[in-house]
Symmetry: C2
Subunit: 289 residues, 2 copies
Amino acid sequence: MTPPPSSPTDADWGPPERAQVALLADVGAAPKPGNVDRDHDHPDLRLGHFLAGGVGAGVGLRAAAVGDPVGAAFERAVAGMSRGAGTNTQFGSLLLLVPLVRAAAASDRDLSPDGAAAVVASTTVADAAAFYRAFDHVDVAVPDPPEGIVDLDVRRGAEAIPTLEARGVTLSDVFSRTTADSNATEWTTGFRRTFETAAGIVDDDGPLTDRVARAFLDRLATDEDTLIRTVHGAAVATEVRKRAAAARGDSDAVAALDADLLDRGINPGATADLVTAATFVALERGVSV
Amino acid sequence: MTPPPSSPTDADWGPPERAQVALLADVGAAPKPGNVDRDHDHPDLRLGHFLAGGVGAGVGLRAAAVGDPVGAAFERAVAGMSRGAGTNTQFGSLLLLVPLVRAAAASDRDLSPDGAAAVVASTTVADAAAFYRAFDHVDVAVPDPPEGIVDLDVRRGAEAIPTLEARGVTLSDVFSRTTADSNATEWTTGFRRTFETAAGIVDDDGPLTDRVARAFLDRLATDEDTLIRTVHGAAVATEVRKRAAAARGDSDAVAALDADLLDRGINPGATADLVTAATFVALERGVSV
């Protein structure tokens, strides 16, 4: 006998779906100087890649919501993203979204700094192992590891798992040892800047994608982008922050910054990750598209 | 005991995910004269609405893939779209995608005119009832029903279900009685133009969104858009077809047509539905983003 068909339910629209909207709004917004956005592609990375990556990540976001371990859900999201996009589009955004979706969807639902910190604190060695496995699905630009932990360099992928297990390193421990990475900072500070940025998006007016573009420029003007620092060095990261601060409120200056970053191949990807996570929190707080 | 976490599998990327990518590529492409697209919004309908609608529809597309009845899967997709977007963004596209996803995902997988026709032929009175219920989730512009079947006007929504049941009308029957609607034509002709358009997308070159934009303009130049005919009348539909045909290959003329259609509030939505369905078929045939 065939089971009865499913009917539309409230569960059909929840944290995983809002997280996917946040991923898509990131590239549906403009201007976002240096990013792939609604206005322009990069030579080898296009809007279409991000749309497919955002679709593919859905299965991992849904796994996080129903209680799969954070590490496994993240690995599944990254694998789905990679299957969809064929490249790395949203690895960093997913690293922030997965624990936030878990916090928002848990039975003791608490999408707050404390709730997010509790998810981080609950992570295990198995979560760390899954996180390392996720690096085997895609190429990710990361900073060099600190002295003394080269055997835990994330670029080793699954090869590092025996070391993780021998030392009892949890996923929370991994980020506590990571420096110079904006996403690790969020993991170790209760997602402080994520929630701060979300509050700004909530207080803003207008369509979601316009709010996203403004939040992106504000964040770019405030923090040095750690992906830029990893790829282009500290001086370039400082330059971009200062130019973004000077360009705020001047659309010609924003357009000039955008054109220059595109021309030089400078992509503020860490800032995009943070704003995407903040967009998810703002959607959970009731902001509509 | 906690169940083991799920791992990435081939099932994580399949027909439902490719259908969602098709929905998103529809608005990620440009220029698509008169549509919401990458280049521009409408005053009250924006790119963000379509992104959220495409996310929300996912649950119904996945239901179609795992064997829920076509009508129930369609209703669930429309309800999810409406929850996400807060308005009607992709009703017509979903009406084409749901049976095609079913054909692509069935155990005797046959994404072909015959396979699609078999899905249509298998529909029941319950599928028709779910289709009518879907109209209660959103406002949809449809042509007036033919003389003699006003009691089956889809705009009556669930109120028409007792009549459907009394007369034993299946979902296939509903479309056989519908005239002047491009999507009904696809349902009753084995999706002839959908597969024809898909073949053109497969044979084209370049990024998916560029292929989508070209296919849209070709289709707009070939068929009179039935949504335009419903909303603005036959003369306007004819005018748009002729102007699209004259504009092909001339980007200035395409831009002028786009600006004029936007200015007059003329949206070739039926053409977008058809090209979205064709994009899904092309993705199933191996086209990448």
